[in-house]
Symmetry: C2
Protein backbone atom coordinates (compact mmCIF):
# COMPACT_ATOMS: atom_id res chain seq x y z
CA UNK A 1 0.00 0.00 0.00
CA UNK A 2 0.96 3.63 -0.16
CA UNK A 3 0.00 6.96 1.28
CA UNK A 4 0.96 10.24 -0.37
CA UNK A 5 -0.52 13.64 0.34
CA UNK A 6 0.03 17.06 -1.19
CA UNK A 7 -1.17 20.33 0.35
CA UNK A 8 -1.22 23.48 -1.76
CA UNK A 9 -1.48 26.65 0.32
CA UNK A 10 -1.11 30.35 -0.32
CA UNK A 11 2.59 30.26 0.57
CA UNK A 12 3.54 27.12 -1.29
CA UNK A 13 3.29 23.39 -1.63
CA UNK A 14 4.06 20.44 0.64
CA UNK A 15 4.23 16.88 -0.62
CA UNK A 16 4.78 13.83 1.58
CA UNK A 17 5.04 10.15 0.66
CA UNK A 18 5.77 6.95 2.48
CA UNK A 19 8.16 4.37 1.00
CA UNK A 20 6.68 0.98 1.81
CA UNK A 21 5.74 -1.38 -0.97
CA UNK A 22 4.34 -4.84 -0.61
CA UNK A 23 3.65 -7.74 -2.91
CA UNK A 24 1.53 -9.71 -0.52
CA UNK A 25 1.88 -9.33 3.22
CA UNK A 26 5.07 -11.38 3.26
CA UNK A 27 7.02 -9.34 0.76
CA UNK A 28 7.73 -5.84 2.02
CA UNK A 29 10.29 -3.45 0.57
CA UNK A 30 11.30 0.20 0.57
CA UNK A 31 11.01 2.27 -2.61
CA UNK A 32 11.03 6.02 -3.05
CA UNK A 33 7.60 7.22 -4.16
CA UNK A 34 8.30 10.96 -4.18
CA UNK A 35 10.48 12.01 -7.12
CA UNK A 36 11.63 15.58 -7.63
CA UNK A 37 12.63 17.01 -11.00
CA UNK A 38 14.38 20.27 -10.27
CA UNK A 39 16.44 22.90 -12.08
CA UNK A 40 16.43 25.92 -9.75
CA UNK A 41 15.10 29.02 -11.42
CA UNK A 42 13.59 26.98 -14.26
CA UNK A 43 11.31 24.44 -12.61
CA UNK A 44 10.61 22.26 -9.63
CA UNK A 45 8.22 19.39 -10.30
CA UNK A 46 7.46 16.53 -7.93
CA UNK A 47 5.68 13.29 -8.72
CA UNK A 48 4.25 11.10 -5.97
CA UNK A 49 3.02 7.72 -7.06
CA UNK A 50 0.74 4.95 -5.82
CA UNK A 51 -0.32 1.68 -7.37
CA UNK A 52 1.51 -1.13 -9.11
CA UNK A 53 5.26 -0.50 -8.74
CA UNK A 54 6.11 -1.85 -12.18
CA UNK A 55 3.71 0.68 -13.71
CA UNK A 56 4.84 3.67 -11.65
CA UNK A 57 8.50 2.92 -12.34
CA UNK A 58 7.79 2.62 -16.08
CA UNK A 59 5.93 5.93 -16.08
CA UNK A 60 8.83 7.65 -14.31
CA UNK A 61 11.31 6.16 -16.75
CA UNK A 62 9.25 7.33 -19.70
CA UNK A 63 8.89 10.91 -18.48
CA UNK A 64 12.63 11.06 -17.68
CA UNK A 65 13.99 9.30 -20.78
CA UNK A 66 11.48 10.75 -23.16
CA UNK A 67 8.23 9.96 -24.90
CA UNK A 68 7.31 10.66 -28.49
CA UNK A 69 4.98 13.56 -29.10
CA UNK A 70 2.31 12.06 -31.37
CA UNK A 71 1.77 15.39 -33.15
CA UNK A 72 5.36 16.39 -33.86
CA UNK A 73 7.08 13.00 -33.71
CA UNK A 74 9.73 14.48 -31.42
CA UNK A 75 10.93 12.84 -28.24
CA UNK A 76 10.04 14.99 -25.22
CA UNK A 77 11.00 14.76 -21.55
CA UNK A 78 9.36 16.15 -18.46
CA UNK A 79 12.09 18.77 -18.11
CA UNK A 80 11.03 20.38 -21.40
CA UNK A 81 7.36 20.86 -20.61
CA UNK A 82 6.50 24.56 -20.81
CA UNK A 83 3.82 24.57 -18.07
CA UNK A 84 2.67 22.43 -15.16
CA UNK A 85 -0.61 21.73 -16.93
CA UNK A 86 1.35 20.35 -19.87
CA UNK A 87 3.45 18.36 -17.39
CA UNK A 88 0.33 16.71 -15.97
CA UNK A 89 -0.87 15.94 -19.49
CA UNK A 90 2.55 14.47 -20.24
CA UNK A 91 2.44 12.22 -17.17
CA UNK A 92 -1.06 11.15 -18.23
CA UNK A 93 0.27 10.34 -21.69
CA UNK A 94 3.06 8.26 -20.17
CA UNK A 95 0.47 6.32 -18.13
CA UNK A 96 -1.50 5.66 -21.32
CA UNK A 97 1.67 4.50 -23.05
CA UNK A 98 2.40 2.03 -20.25
CA UNK A 99 -1.19 0.86 -20.45
CA UNK A 100 -0.77 0.34 -24.20
CA UNK A 101 2.32 -1.81 -23.59
CA UNK A 102 1.42 -3.67 -20.37
CA UNK A 103 -2.29 -3.16 -19.72
CA UNK A 104 -3.72 -6.15 -21.51
CA UNK A 105 -1.14 -8.60 -20.18
CA UNK A 106 -1.68 -7.32 -16.64
CA UNK A 107 -5.42 -7.75 -16.92
CA UNK A 108 -4.99 -11.22 -18.44
CA UNK A 109 -3.00 -12.26 -15.38
CA UNK A 110 -5.79 -10.92 -13.14
CA UNK A 111 -3.87 -7.81 -12.10
CA UNK A 112 -5.62 -4.50 -12.40
CA UNK A 113 -3.86 -1.60 -14.09
CA UNK A 114 -3.56 0.41 -10.92
CA UNK A 115 -1.74 3.74 -10.81
CA UNK A 116 -2.47 7.23 -9.47
CA UNK A 117 0.00 10.10 -9.30
CA UNK A 118 0.27 13.54 -7.78
CA UNK A 119 2.10 16.07 -9.92
CA UNK A 120 2.92 19.32 -8.17
CA UNK A 121 5.30 22.21 -8.56
CA UNK A 122 6.01 25.36 -10.49
CA UNK A 123 7.71 26.23 -13.77
CA UNK A 124 9.17 29.69 -14.37
CA UNK A 125 6.50 31.99 -15.79
CA UNK A 126 3.65 29.80 -14.52
CA UNK A 127 1.67 29.27 -11.34
CA UNK A 128 2.36 26.83 -8.51
CA UNK A 129 -0.13 24.01 -9.08
CA UNK A 130 -0.84 20.43 -8.10
CA UNK A 131 -2.72 17.74 -10.03
CA UNK A 132 -3.89 14.21 -9.35
CA UNK A 133 -3.48 12.06 -12.46
CA UNK A 134 -5.71 8.99 -12.70
CA UNK A 135 -5.02 5.65 -14.36
CA UNK A 136 -6.87 6.80 -17.46
CA UNK A 137 -4.40 9.69 -17.78
CA UNK A 138 -6.99 12.33 -16.97
CA UNK A 139 -6.51 14.57 -13.94
CA UNK A 140 -7.99 17.01 -11.44
CA UNK A 141 -6.38 19.99 -9.72
CA UNK A 142 -6.17 21.11 -6.10
CA UNK A 143 -8.02 24.38 -5.50
CA UNK A 144 -8.40 26.98 -2.78
CA UNK A 145 -11.59 25.24 -1.63
CA UNK A 146 -9.98 21.83 -1.34
CA UNK A 147 -6.27 22.48 -1.11
CA UNK A 148 -5.11 18.91 -0.58
CA UNK A 149 -4.95 15.76 -2.68
CA UNK A 150 -4.31 12.24 -1.44
CA UNK A 151 -3.47 8.98 -3.17
CA UNK A 152 -3.29 5.43 -1.86
CA UNK A 153 -4.61 4.64 1.63
CA UNK A 154 -6.31 8.00 2.08
CA UNK A 155 -9.08 7.50 4.63
CA UNK A 156 -7.22 7.25 7.92
CA UNK A 157 -5.37 10.49 7.31
CA UNK A 158 -8.26 12.46 5.88
CA UNK A 159 -10.13 13.63 9.01
CA UNK A 160 -7.31 15.89 10.21
CA UNK A 161 -7.00 17.43 6.75
CA UNK A 162 -10.76 17.93 6.50
CA UNK A 163 -10.68 19.77 9.80
CA UNK A 164 -7.54 21.83 9.57
CA UNK A 165 -6.05 22.15 6.10
CA UNK A 166 -7.10 25.35 4.37
CA UNK A 167 -5.58 27.49 1.69
CA UNK A 168 -4.50 29.93 4.41
CA UNK A 169 -2.61 27.33 6.42
CA UNK A 170 1.04 28.31 6.67
CA UNK A 171 3.58 26.19 4.88
CA UNK A 172 5.13 24.95 8.14
CA UNK A 173 1.66 24.08 9.43
CA UNK A 174 0.86 22.28 6.21
CA UNK A 175 3.96 20.15 6.70
CA UNK A 176 2.90 19.42 10.29
CA UNK A 177 -0.64 18.50 9.17
CA UNK A 178 0.71 16.25 6.47
CA UNK A 179 2.92 14.47 8.99
CA UNK A 180 0.00 14.05 11.42
CA UNK A 181 -2.08 12.67 8.56
CA UNK A 182 0.77 10.28 7.71
CA UNK A 183 1.06 9.23 11.36
CA UNK A 184 -2.66 8.40 11.56
CA UNK A 185 -2.35 6.31 8.40
CA UNK A 186 0.72 4.42 9.57
CA UNK A 187 -0.92 3.58 12.90
CA UNK A 188 -3.94 1.99 11.25
CA UNK A 189 -2.38 0.43 8.15
CA UNK A 190 0.85 -1.52 8.53
CA UNK A 191 1.46 -1.45 4.80
CA UNK A 192 2.20 2.28 4.99
CA UNK A 193 5.56 2.82 6.64
CA UNK A 194 8.70 4.79 7.34
CA UNK A 195 10.86 6.34 6.02
CA UNK A 196 8.79 9.28 4.77
CA UNK A 197 9.95 11.65 2.05
CA UNK A 198 8.99 15.29 2.33
CA UNK A 199 9.19 18.21 -0.06
CA UNK A 200 8.41 21.86 0.50
CA UNK A 201 8.25 24.44 -2.28
CA UNK A 202 7.71 28.13 -1.59
CA UNK A 203 5.48 29.86 -4.10
CA UNK A 204 7.47 31.61 -6.82
CA UNK A 205 10.82 30.35 -5.52
CA UNK A 206 11.02 27.92 -8.49
CA UNK A 207 13.08 25.52 -6.41
CA UNK A 208 12.53 23.23 -3.44
CA UNK A 209 13.11 24.81 -0.06
CA UNK A 210 13.12 21.45 1.74
CA UNK A 211 13.77 17.86 0.69
CA UNK A 212 14.03 15.70 3.74
CA UNK A 213 13.70 12.01 4.48
CA UNK A 214 12.24 11.16 7.89
CA UNK A 215 13.29 7.80 9.32
CA UNK A 216 12.35 6.04 12.54
CA UNK A 217 15.10 7.87 14.44
CA UNK A 218 13.96 11.34 13.44
CA UNK A 219 13.54 13.15 16.78
CA UNK A 220 11.05 15.72 15.50
CA UNK A 221 8.72 13.12 14.00
CA UNK A 222 8.94 10.95 17.11
CA UNK A 223 8.08 13.96 19.22
CA UNK A 224 5.20 14.90 16.89
CA UNK A 225 3.77 11.39 17.18
CA UNK A 226 4.04 11.44 20.97
CA UNK A 227 2.52 14.88 21.28
CA UNK A 228 -0.32 14.06 18.94
CA UNK A 229 -1.13 10.84 20.79
CA UNK A 230 -1.04 12.62 24.12
CA UNK A 231 -3.16 15.50 22.83
CA UNK A 232 -5.82 13.14 21.51
CA UNK A 233 -5.88 11.26 24.78
CA UNK A 234 -6.09 14.47 26.78
CA UNK A 235 -8.76 15.84 24.45
CA UNK A 236 -11.06 12.89 24.81
CA UNK A 237 -10.53 12.79 28.55
CA UNK A 238 -11.31 16.51 28.78
CA UNK A 239 -14.70 16.08 27.13
CA UNK A 240 -17.35 15.86 29.86
CA UNK A 241 -19.04 12.54 30.50
CA UNK A 242 -22.22 11.89 28.54
CA UNK A 243 -25.18 13.29 30.50
CA UNK A 244 -27.67 10.74 29.23
CA UNK A 245 -29.23 9.42 32.39
CA UNK A 246 -28.64 5.74 32.92
CA UNK A 247 -31.70 3.79 33.98
Amino acid sequence: MTYCVGILVRDGLVMIADTRTNAGLDNIATYRKLHVFERPGDRVVAIASSGNLAITQSVLSLVSEGLENPETGEIETLMEMPTLFRTAQFVGRAIREVYRIDGRALEQSANSFDVTMLVGGQIAGGRLRMFMVYRAGNFIEATEDTPYLQIGEHKYGKPILDRAATYDTTLQDALKLGLISMDSTMRSNLSVGLPIDTLMVRRDAIRSSLRHRIDSYDPYFRDLRDRWSRALRDAHLAIPEPPYGEV
Copy 2:
Protein backbone atom coordinates in the same frame (compact mmCIF):
# COMPACT_ATOMS: atom_id res chain seq x y z
CA MET B 1 -23.46 3.83 3.73
CA THR B 2 -23.39 2.99 7.41
CA TYR B 3 -21.14 3.23 10.40
CA CYS B 4 -21.67 1.12 13.51
CA VAL B 5 -19.19 0.51 16.29
CA GLY B 6 -19.28 -1.62 19.41
CA ILE B 7 -16.81 -1.36 22.28
CA LEU B 8 -16.63 -4.12 24.87
CA VAL B 9 -14.85 -3.08 28.04
CA ARG B 10 -14.40 -4.52 31.51
CA ASP B 11 -17.47 -2.68 32.80
CA GLY B 12 -19.78 -3.36 29.90
CA LEU B 13 -20.68 -2.78 26.30
CA VAL B 14 -21.41 0.29 24.18
CA MET B 15 -22.93 0.07 20.72
CA ILE B 16 -23.52 3.03 18.42
CA ALA B 17 -25.05 3.19 14.95
CA ASP B 18 -25.95 5.89 12.50
CA THR B 19 -29.29 5.81 10.67
CA ARG B 20 -28.59 7.04 7.16
CA THR B 21 -29.32 4.80 4.20
CA ASN B 22 -28.85 5.63 0.59
CA ALA B 23 -29.77 4.05 -2.69
CA GLY B 24 -27.56 6.20 -4.84
CA LEU B 25 -26.55 9.69 -3.81
CA ASP B 26 -29.98 11.09 -4.64
CA ASN B 27 -32.03 8.76 -2.48
CA ILE B 28 -31.32 9.26 1.21
CA ALA B 29 -33.48 7.98 4.05
CA THR B 30 -33.39 7.32 7.78
CA TYR B 31 -33.65 3.76 9.11
CA ARG B 32 -32.80 2.40 12.51
CA LYS B 33 -29.76 0.13 12.32
CA LEU B 34 -29.40 -0.64 16.02
CA HIS B 35 -32.06 -3.04 17.26
CA VAL B 36 -32.32 -4.12 20.87
CA PHE B 37 -33.98 -7.35 22.02
CA GLU B 38 -34.45 -7.03 25.73
CA ARG B 39 -36.20 -8.84 28.56
CA PRO B 40 -34.61 -7.44 31.74
CA GLY B 41 -33.12 -10.14 33.92
CA ASP B 42 -33.25 -12.66 31.08
CA ARG B 43 -31.33 -11.08 28.20
CA VAL B 44 -30.28 -7.94 26.42
CA VAL B 45 -29.12 -8.49 22.85
CA ALA B 46 -28.40 -5.77 20.32
CA ILE B 47 -27.92 -6.16 16.59
CA ALA B 48 -26.30 -3.42 14.53
CA SER B 49 -26.45 -3.91 10.79
CA SER B 50 -24.74 -2.67 7.67
CA GLY B 51 -25.16 -3.56 4.03
CA ASN B 52 -28.15 -3.96 1.75
CA LEU B 53 -31.25 -2.77 3.64
CA ALA B 54 -33.54 -5.41 2.13
CA ILE B 55 -31.20 -8.10 3.43
CA THR B 56 -30.73 -6.65 6.91
CA GLN B 57 -34.47 -6.13 7.34
CA SER B 58 -35.16 -9.70 6.24
CA VAL B 59 -32.59 -11.04 8.68
CA LEU B 60 -34.15 -9.06 11.53
CA SER B 61 -37.63 -10.28 10.59
CA LEU B 62 -36.43 -13.88 10.53
CA VAL B 63 -34.74 -13.75 13.92
CA SER B 64 -37.82 -12.05 15.43
CA GLU B 65 -40.55 -14.12 13.77
CA GLY B 66 -38.68 -17.38 13.90
CA LEU B 67 -36.54 -19.65 11.81
CA GLU B 68 -36.71 -23.42 11.59
CA ASN B 69 -34.03 -25.35 13.41
CA PRO B 70 -32.77 -27.79 10.76
CA GLU B 71 -31.99 -30.43 13.39
CA THR B 72 -35.22 -30.39 15.40
CA GLY B 73 -37.62 -28.94 12.84
CA GLU B 74 -38.83 -26.47 15.48
CA ILE B 75 -39.31 -22.76 14.87
CA GLU B 76 -36.92 -20.73 17.04
CA THR B 77 -36.62 -17.02 17.71
CA LEU B 78 -33.74 -14.94 18.95
CA MET B 79 -35.40 -14.53 22.35
CA GLU B 80 -35.11 -18.30 22.95
CA MET B 81 -31.39 -18.67 22.29
CA PRO B 82 -29.69 -20.03 25.43
CA THR B 83 -26.35 -18.20 24.97
CA LEU B 84 -24.91 -15.27 23.06
CA PHE B 85 -22.73 -17.61 21.04
CA ARG B 86 -25.85 -19.47 19.94
CA THR B 87 -27.46 -16.10 19.20
CA ALA B 88 -24.61 -15.19 16.85
CA GLN B 89 -24.91 -18.60 15.17
CA PHE B 90 -28.64 -18.00 14.84
CA VAL B 91 -28.13 -14.60 13.19
CA GLY B 92 -25.60 -16.26 10.87
CA ARG B 93 -28.17 -18.91 10.01
CA ALA B 94 -30.74 -16.20 9.24
CA ILE B 95 -28.24 -14.52 6.90
CA ARG B 96 -27.70 -17.84 5.12
CA GLU B 97 -31.45 -18.30 4.84
CA VAL B 98 -31.85 -14.87 3.22
CA TYR B 99 -28.98 -15.73 0.90
CA ARG B 100 -30.74 -18.96 -0.02
CA ILE B 101 -33.90 -17.03 -0.90
CA ASP B 102 -32.52 -13.82 -2.42
CA GLY B 103 -28.81 -14.33 -3.07
CA ARG B 104 -28.90 -15.63 -6.60
CA ALA B 105 -31.47 -13.08 -7.82
CA LEU B 106 -29.45 -10.25 -6.26
CA GLU B 107 -26.29 -11.40 -7.96
CA GLN B 108 -28.11 -11.83 -11.27
CA SER B 109 -29.17 -8.18 -11.07
CA ALA B 110 -25.55 -7.19 -10.43
CA ASN B 111 -26.09 -6.49 -6.73
CA SER B 112 -23.71 -8.10 -4.29
CA PHE B 113 -25.10 -9.92 -1.27
CA ASP B 114 -23.77 -7.40 1.21
CA VAL B 115 -24.48 -7.65 4.93
CA THR B 116 -22.44 -7.50 8.13
CA MET B 117 -23.84 -7.41 11.64
CA LEU B 118 -22.66 -6.80 15.17
CA VAL B 119 -24.35 -8.94 17.79
CA GLY B 120 -23.64 -7.91 21.37
CA GLY B 121 -25.13 -8.37 24.79
CA GLN B 122 -25.58 -10.77 27.64
CA ILE B 123 -27.96 -13.59 28.49
CA ALA B 124 -28.57 -14.64 32.10
CA GLY B 125 -26.01 -17.24 33.12
CA GLY B 126 -23.60 -16.29 30.35
CA ARG B 127 -20.90 -13.72 29.71
CA LEU B 128 -21.22 -10.30 28.10
CA ARG B 129 -19.91 -10.78 24.56
CA MET B 130 -19.91 -9.15 21.14
CA PHE B 131 -19.58 -10.75 17.73
CA MET B 132 -19.24 -9.55 14.15
CA VAL B 133 -21.24 -11.78 11.80
CA TYR B 134 -20.13 -11.80 8.17
CA ARG B 135 -22.19 -12.31 5.03
CA ALA B 136 -21.27 -15.99 5.01
CA GLY B 137 -22.83 -16.35 8.46
CA ASN B 138 -19.50 -16.97 10.19
CA PHE B 139 -18.31 -14.61 12.90
CA ILE B 140 -15.48 -13.29 15.07
CA GLU B 141 -15.57 -12.03 18.63
CA ALA B 142 -14.25 -8.88 20.32
CA THR B 143 -11.50 -9.66 22.83
CA GLU B 144 -9.57 -7.90 25.57
CA ASP B 145 -6.74 -7.25 23.07
CA THR B 146 -9.02 -5.68 20.48
CA PRO B 147 -12.12 -4.63 22.34
CA TYR B 148 -13.94 -2.92 19.50
CA LEU B 149 -15.64 -4.04 16.30
CA GLN B 150 -16.74 -1.81 13.44
CA ILE B 151 -18.95 -2.37 10.41
CA GLY B 152 -19.63 -0.18 7.38
CA GLU B 153 -17.49 2.88 6.75
CA HIS B 154 -14.90 1.99 9.39
CA LYS B 155 -11.67 3.72 8.39
CA TYR B 156 -12.32 7.37 9.30
CA GLY B 157 -13.32 6.48 12.83
CA LYS B 158 -10.65 3.86 13.48
CA PRO B 159 -7.60 5.97 14.43
CA ILE B 160 -9.14 7.28 17.65
CA LEU B 161 -10.17 3.75 18.65
CA ASP B 162 -6.72 2.38 17.82
CA ARG B 163 -5.20 4.99 20.07
CA ALA B 164 -7.56 5.12 23.00
CA ALA B 165 -9.99 2.21 23.26
CA THR B 166 -8.76 -0.50 25.60
CA TYR B 167 -10.46 -3.12 27.69
CA ASP B 168 -9.88 -0.92 30.75
CA THR B 169 -11.60 2.11 29.26
CA THR B 170 -14.56 3.09 31.43
CA LEU B 171 -18.03 2.64 30.04
CA GLN B 172 -18.66 6.40 29.90
CA ASP B 173 -15.32 6.89 28.14
CA ALA B 174 -16.15 4.14 25.70
CA LEU B 175 -19.36 5.97 24.83
CA LYS B 176 -17.41 9.20 24.36
CA LEU B 177 -14.83 7.44 22.16
CA GLY B 178 -17.56 5.86 20.09
CA LEU B 179 -19.18 9.25 19.57
CA ILE B 180 -15.84 10.83 18.59
CA SER B 181 -15.30 7.97 16.16
CA MET B 182 -18.78 8.55 14.75
CA ASP B 183 -18.11 12.29 14.46
CA SER B 184 -14.90 11.68 12.47
CA THR B 185 -16.80 9.37 10.14
CA MET B 186 -19.69 11.76 9.60
CA ARG B 187 -17.32 14.62 8.79
CA SER B 188 -15.57 12.67 6.04
CA ASN B 189 -18.44 10.62 4.62
CA LEU B 190 -21.75 12.35 3.94
CA SER B 191 -23.55 9.03 3.63
CA VAL B 192 -23.14 8.45 7.38
CA GLY B 193 -25.47 10.74 9.27
CA LEU B 194 -27.55 11.75 12.24
CA PRO B 195 -29.51 10.71 14.19
CA ILE B 196 -27.29 8.24 16.03
CA ASP B 197 -28.62 5.42 18.20
CA THR B 198 -26.67 4.49 21.30
CA LEU B 199 -26.87 1.59 23.70
CA MET B 200 -25.00 0.97 26.91
CA VAL B 201 -25.10 -2.31 28.82
CA ARG B 202 -23.39 -2.76 32.18
CA ARG B 203 -21.75 -6.14 32.65
CA ASP B 204 -23.99 -8.58 34.51
CA ALA B 205 -26.92 -6.13 34.66
CA ILE B 206 -28.77 -8.21 32.01
CA ARG B 207 -30.57 -5.12 30.79
CA SER B 208 -29.69 -1.93 28.95
CA SER B 209 -28.66 0.96 31.13
CA LEU B 210 -28.97 3.49 28.30
CA ARG B 211 -30.87 3.60 25.04
CA HIS B 212 -30.65 7.06 23.59
CA ARG B 213 -31.08 8.60 20.16
CA ILE B 214 -28.85 11.59 19.42
CA ASP B 215 -30.22 14.05 16.88
CA SER B 216 -28.77 17.23 15.45
CA TYR B 217 -30.12 19.27 18.36
CA ASP B 218 -28.49 17.15 21.05
CA PRO B 219 -26.51 19.69 23.11
CA TYR B 220 -24.00 17.16 24.47
CA PHE B 221 -23.09 15.81 21.05
CA ARG B 222 -22.84 19.32 19.59
CA ASP B 223 -20.53 20.27 22.43
CA LEU B 224 -18.47 17.09 21.97
CA ARG B 225 -18.02 17.88 18.28
CA ASP B 226 -16.98 21.46 19.01
CA ARG B 227 -14.58 20.47 21.75
CA TRP B 228 -13.03 17.74 19.67
CA SER B 229 -12.53 20.06 16.70
CA ARG B 230 -11.02 22.71 18.92
CA ALA B 231 -8.79 20.21 20.67
CA LEU B 232 -7.45 18.85 17.38
CA ARG B 233 -6.80 22.37 16.12
CA ASP B 234 -5.08 23.35 19.35
CA ALA B 235 -3.08 20.13 19.36
CA HIS B 236 -1.68 20.60 15.91
CA LEU B 237 -0.94 24.25 16.58
CA ALA B 238 0.84 23.30 19.82
CA ILE B 239 3.22 20.96 18.02
CA PRO B 240 6.48 22.84 17.36
CA GLU B 241 7.33 23.83 13.82
CA PRO B 242 9.36 21.32 11.83
CA PRO B 243 13.07 21.99 12.45
CA TYR B 244 14.21 20.79 9.06
CA GLY B 245 16.32 23.68 7.80
CA GLU B 246 14.96 25.26 4.68
CA VAL B 247 17.55 25.92 2.02
